[in-house]
């Protein structure tokens, strides 16, 4: 892993030496004029992750609760099978759906010039994260012993109280790692995002405008790696994007490692 980081650092060092750390929040990226600000892509990535999580976390959690607490047991195996299969669908296939189904739909319903935008990227990402999110939360819910539920029932707690005071608090560690895993996936996903995000290097104006074409770190690398000549400043700048990605991903993983405070069992 250190080797990996060193590589990224080494390949992008030219960029850091020439421009310095301030490029992280410079907002211009025009490779042909030697302007390499990372801010637009970082904001794009952040927005895509936020939108994806806003959709995927409530829906995935609700689906997990419905499937493990409401639906009959005989359905669960099949649902799980389906979800595991869906979690394995290649991202480029989701990209196709995003490009040819979601984009025209967004364009028509919201009356936009083009459907390529951050909202579409976030929605397609949420679709990809949903199965993972659901499987992880479901596992966490199923790990809670049946005695806990029955003890709560014996105390006259109704379904809502059991959910809020027994199930969710006890399943939280699992749900939390599901969320972090989903975040990591949203961060690193390339193909699907690349196809729908529009690849326009500009800070959204205003900053919460998610209906404009934008750029994420991954889509920038995917788009421009083919054009950048090895050894050029453009190439180093793209490697710097990779370094930012890797460091963020490592932070997320470390966060997932840290066990939340809980009562010893």
């Amino acid at each position: 892993m250190l080797i990996l980081l060193w590589f990224l650092w080494d390949a992008s060092s030219a960029y850091w030496y020439d421009f310095g750390i301030s490029q992280l929040w410079a907002s211009e990226w025009y490779p042909y004029e030697s302007l390499y600000g990372l801010l637009p892509a970082i904001i794009g990535t952040a927005w895509a992750m936020i939108i994806a999580m806003l959709i995927a976390v409530p829906c995935g959690l609700a689906a997990a609760i419905v499937s493990s607490e409401i639906l009959p047991v005989s359905w669960q195996g099949w649902l799980r099978l389906g979800m595991e299969m869906l979690a394995g669908i290649p991202s480029v296939v989701y990209g196709l759906i995003g490009l040819w189904v979601l984009l025209p739909w967004l364009q028509n319903t919201l009356d936009l010039l083009t459907g390529h935008n951050l909202l579409a990227a976030g929605m397609i990402l949420s679709l990809m994260i949903l199965p993972t999110m659901m499987v992880m939360s479901q596992d966490a819910l199923r790990l809670i012993p049946i005695e806990q539920r029955e003890a709560a029932m014996n105390m006259g707690m109704n379904w809502n109280q059991r959910l809020m005071r027994i199930l969710l608090p006890q399943a939280w560690p699992g749900i939390r790692s599901g969320i972090l895993l989903g975040l990591g996936r949203a961060l690193g996903e390339t193909m699907a995002v690349m196809l729908v995000v529009g690849s326009l290097d500009r800070v959204p104006d205003p900053i919460y405008n998610i209906l404009e074409p934008a750029q994420t770190l991954t889509s920038r690398i995917g788009r421009e790696m083919g054009e950048a000549a090895f050894g050029s400043m453009h190439f180093s700048a793209l490697m710097a994007c990779g370094l930012v990605l890797a460091v963020t991903a490592i932070c997320l993983s470390l966060l997932a490692q840290r066990k939340p405070r809980e009562f010893a069992s």
Partner: protein, 276 residues
Amino acid sequence: MKVFLSLLALPALLLPLACFLYIIIQALPALNWELIVGSNTAGNLFGDAANAGHGIWSQVSGSLLMMFLACVLAAPIALSIALFHALWASPRQQRVLIILLQILQGIPPIVYGLCGLVLLVHLLHWGISLAAGGVILAVVILPLLSSNAIHALQRIPIEQTESAKALGLSVGTMITRVWFPAAWSGMLTGLLLAMARALSETAPILFTATVFSGVLWPDSIFSPVTSLQTHIFYLAQEGSNAHAVDMAWASAAVLLALVICFSLSARFLRRYEELS
């Protein structure tokens, strides 16, 4: 509350399924035997409709080739990591190893692609090649493969290991006679899952191993290949061409079938393992 949750859950349960069905429906017009075994280069795609390329055989075989290369490279390493973890690592080393594997698993594949691009393609002068793609995919699946192998070994009851040691078996005999029979199915499950992963990764090989057209079958491992994943991507860029759209859906369906094939067999193997 229940109703509210059910409403929230409905899209989560139905949308992915709808997507799945949609792909199959879209793929149906172009999906036939000719498509899979036909081997026209994709370059013909933009000729007149009559001569348009039909086959994606070279893409399918390219993908499979790269997948096998990755597995052949990664499996021995993963196996030795798992054995190291089980035999020689101290508890502290074990913990660090697990954390490291999980971190590596969390790093976006495209970052591995970047490293591979610098090291293999440029510094080692392999060029855009099958070998580079195979090695990069091997690195991408290595954490998954190793952690699965470690889990498979951990599931062996401690009594078995202890009784093997009590019999005075050597480490080699213990591994081949006691551990391997107990853990092979778990390891194979991990391998199948890793294969599915290698098949579905697109980003890291996009600019290190594959080209869009002109290649039917790589001449050597240092020549470029075409793969199904990247083929879909390139086709998606040609959105205006109706034939390309059909081909893209059909390719997506084929890729999906391959991936699901691997993950389903992994699933059945796991079920078998639980039963026995």
